[in-house]
């Protein structure tokens, strides 16, 4: 057992691919806290080479010119480099880079959730074959050590469910819509100005960024690699202030919520959807760019993890802890590839069979009989209605009809909504949102 504070320090040479938002943070913070890291890990974490796309770009961190390259292969092929950090983003070059690093037996640290969600199965197989691990704490929930918690802290638990607010951009937009009463578009513009949303915000607002993170958490929890096509994903682009207001009156907030859970037969459902959440629930009070993950384990019970889910510093905190882990691995050997298959290599629950409460808002003619027709239609399909709100501030001849529905399978809901859409008295496409009762 080495005594980190007294031994000669081992130098760990890092090849850093990407010097953008996160990459620059890693570079700066490794330098800032170098002394602390040396004492705590017994290693000198040294960045030996940095790959970027454009050498001429001005950067907010000073990197000596000789260590910069525009060819990531220079990192992977350098026999002196011990560990590769992949922070270039995207799924094509990044896949090549990570594969090449694993072939070269260099442990990889990455924050790339898209890459792992889409190609994790291949990459971990490659890691296994090459006996070289991948670390990815930064890929989910920024600075919150949720990967380590699910993989190690709760190793003895069957995970019952995970509920997460894991996209700060969407959470910022929804929080601003609620608090400032501004529209989706206005809140998005604001988020872009403040740097909380990218110029092309599609990956975030479509729900896919959160879904990628949910895929990773689900795969770790249930021991098989979840496929993107088995995941239900809805974005926040169509959330209206009207629905926020109705939800509020009913005692709910609207959040982009990722839900992972296993049913009694062990079938796993993974979804990311704007969802109504009781205002009294702790997740409903997670505002702005913060993330929170609620994990329910069969032994530990309910636990919550909260912190900044993105940004240069929080994300680099996780990259650095992975680097410390990778450094230990170089000395002691890797315990596993980063992903341990288990649990009978689980099975997904068909999305159509997933069951939830729902909120439905209809724009209907203000004539008697409409509610009756709608209620009969749901009733015929076995869907209970727990409450109906018919607000009074309406235009001359049409009105909103808001229904809260009890548990309904998605397939049945889709059919019911399609049938209702065809009613003459229904004016616009019905709005329907999932309600998370957190029972």
């Amino acid at each position: 057992m080495p005594t980190p504070a007294t031994q000669t320090h081992r130098i760990v040479r890092i090849g850093l691919a990407g010097l953008g938002n996160v990459g620059a943070g890693v570079y700066k913070n490794l330098a800032k806290n170098a002394g602390l890291l040396r004492e705590r890990t017994g290693c000198l974490l040294h960045v030996s080479k940095v790959a970027v796309r454009d050498l001429s770009r001005s950067r907010d961190c000073e990197v000596p010119e000789p260590i910069l390259t525009t060819d990531w292969r220079d990192l992977v092929n350098d026999p002196k480099i011990d560990v590769i950090v992949e922070l270039i983003g995207g799924t094509e070059t990044a896949f090549e880079l990570v594969s090449a690093a694993l072939h070269a037996k260099k442990p990889v640290v990455t924050g790339n959730k898209a890459l792992l969600a889409e190609r994790g199965q291949e990459l971990f197989a490659l890691a296994e074959v090459n006996r070289t691990p991948i670390y990815f704490e930064a890929a989910v929930a920024g600075g919150i050590p949720i990967i380590q918690t699910v993989q190690e802290g709760f190793v003895g638990n069957h995970i019952r469910s995970i509920h997460g607010i894991i996209n700060g951009t969407c959470n910022y937009i929804l929080t601003r819509m609620r608090d400032a009463g501004i529209s989706y578009q206005e809140a998005l513009d604001e988020a872009q100005k403040l740097g909380y949303a990218e110029a092309d915000p599609t990956l975030d607002v479509s729900g896919w960024d959160a879904a990628h993170k949910a895929i990773i958490l689900a795969s770790l929890s249930y021991g098989y690699w979840v496929k993107p096509e088995d995941v239900l994903v809805e974005g926040i682009q169509n959330i209206h202030l009207a629905d926020m207001a109705f939800a509020d009156k009913l005692g709910y907030g609207i959040k982009l919520l990722s839900v992972i859970r296993a049913d009694a037969e062990g079938r796993v459902e993974v979804r990311t959807q704007p969802s109504l959440l009781p205002k009294s629930h702790i997740l409903a009070s997670v505002g702005g760019a913060y993330n929170a993950v609620l994990v329910n384990g069969d032994i530990v019970g309910e636990t919550l993890f909260y912190g900044k889910g993105a940004g240069q510093d929080p994300t680099s905190s996780s990259v650095i802890s992975d680097l410390a882990e990778a450094a230990a691995t170089l000395v002691f050997g890797a315990r596993h590839s980063g992903f341990v298959p288990h649990g009978l290599y689980g099975k997904g629950k068909p999305i159509d069979e997933t069951v939830s409460h729902y909120y439905v808002r209809l724009s209907v003619d203000d004539k008697p009989g409409v509610l009756g027709k709608v209620a009969t239609l749901f009733g015929d399909r076995g869907i209970g209605i727990s409450s109906v709100v018919q607000p009074e501030d309406l235009s001359a001849d049409h009105t909103h009809l808001v229904l809260m529905l009890d548990d309904a399978p998605l397939k049945v809901m889709r059919e019911a909504i399609a049938a209702i859409s065809a009613f003459d008295s229904v004016r616009e496409a019905p709005v329907w949102l999932r309600v998370e009762t957190m029972e």
Copy 2:
């Protein structure tokens, strides 16, 4: 790199000392989730021997008689046993047991915060010499993996501060006093009936249980073993409903709060005290037997960890994750003893110099001039008064005077309170409590 799911499983033989609340939980949950643990760790975690005090006691878990013993030495001396789990509590026999296990080169898993807080320095030195680690996730905040988070997840961070609600018994009592308007004694009786408080609740209500946990967190964060005598500890026994009510009116709740932080010169202060907390703060909403730990790191920013802080199941979740870690250590070697000295082997801040806002309640004669005298006394000592409340519902000739004070060093506060106590117009010993502004 072994493939846990396919390889032949290594058997890890566990010697379990203690089969009380937590020990029985570990035994039951290891059995319940044995399959999952085998797949995830590649090991069979097998309890080979169990030490108890009284063989005749009836237990809520069935342990085969031949593996029971009343002599813990049977565990330590058995060459087949790989790991020792210490769950007997107390600091004398437990110290002997852990020392003997380390001498025998058997890794130790313990939930004993009193032992580590009082004798951690000796034990980790012994662990170092014997190159045999101690694991203690269960010692702080039950099922919440806060030890791992501070040691590994935030390895790259200078810890700015930790604020924790880390004693469920006290939190339950204070929550009930506030919500049900019952006295300290009534709430304690209730907690004892429900099993949230022990027959002898001293360790909890005195603040010392939380202080032990704070000592462990502070030691890990700042890299030197904090001494119990350098910690400020106050219990909740003297919290009055009157103060809860005044705090409430001023916008605060009262919590047993543990605070760990370093000042600009790196001097560390560790305190556990009933403290006023703004009601709007997330920690103020942690109710009942739950625990929450807020960690502020210089890179990661503010993070929160929340879950059940005690009880058979949550605590055994942490013991089991430590067992998985110990099992990996048996294969790969131990990375460190469980405690890595660092940070120039820090120094404590003298308690007298710690600075805080304060709440003061005086019972005074209802005569003009009293407030003036009190205000002058604080003013002369450089302590600002941010607000004064003089409630109107009073008896004929005396009244409460409630003051909120700005930053004051403890030494100055003590002198000021002593001086005020001597005033003729002050009827009872002044009540004064720390106010945590969470700035």
